[in-house]
Symmetry: C2
Subunit: 113 residues, 2 copies
């Protein structure tokens, strides 16, 4: 079954599968670096994506702290949880709505890829 990747283009920023998964991993791990590692991306890239996200929305989606117990950490703000939930709902609704067409496209593909 083909996968559906979905990207929302705002005026000057965008939200897609990469940032959504990063938010998910941050929520899971409580750390930007751990989230990046889990996705096989460098800390620099993970951090720059977080920076973009925080700059794009009225309220930051990720809050992070240096020092302290464990050296620091990061987690999703309420806004971050809301955005992630909304994005997931967009993907799911799109997937359901387009099931028939996607199946039709899959049926037209070359059998042995």
């Amino acid at each position: 079954m083909p996968e559906l990747k979905l990207r929302i283009l705002f005026d000057d920023a965008m939200l897609g599968p990469g940032k959504a998964e990063l938010l998910t991993r941050i929520a899971e791990t409580g750390s930007i670096s751990a989230a990046g590692r889990a996705m096989g991306m460098s800390y620099k890239r993970a951090w720059s994506l977080v920076e973009e996200l925080n700059a794009s929305f009225a309220a930051p989606l990720v809050s992070s702290s240096r020092g302290g117990a464990g050296g620091g950490g990061a987690d999703l703000t309420d806004a971050g949880q809301t955005v992630l939930a909304l994005y997931r709902r967009v993907v799911e609704k799109a997937r359901v709505a387009a099931t028939a067409e996607i199946a039709a496209l899959e049926a037209m593909r070359k059998p042995t890829g």
Copy 2:
């Protein structure tokens, strides 16, 4: 209003906005090079995308001919027209299904981007 970009990932190929627009332009202009020019891309890139498309599906989506009146040309096969129509329907259905969530996300964005 944010734009929704949608990409379908098959096992080894993918179909997204770029290839869809290219197919549209080929249908309009009857030429791969003219379609590429209209999109601001080099002929080489346009041609390579067409090659990928033709290789991905059981039947070629674009038929092309060299020489002849006007030097040659290209147009969509029946399969090409079908694939393009299906893709457009996917995008439209997804857009409609996710309208509410997209509006909610837009409302959370930073005002002055």
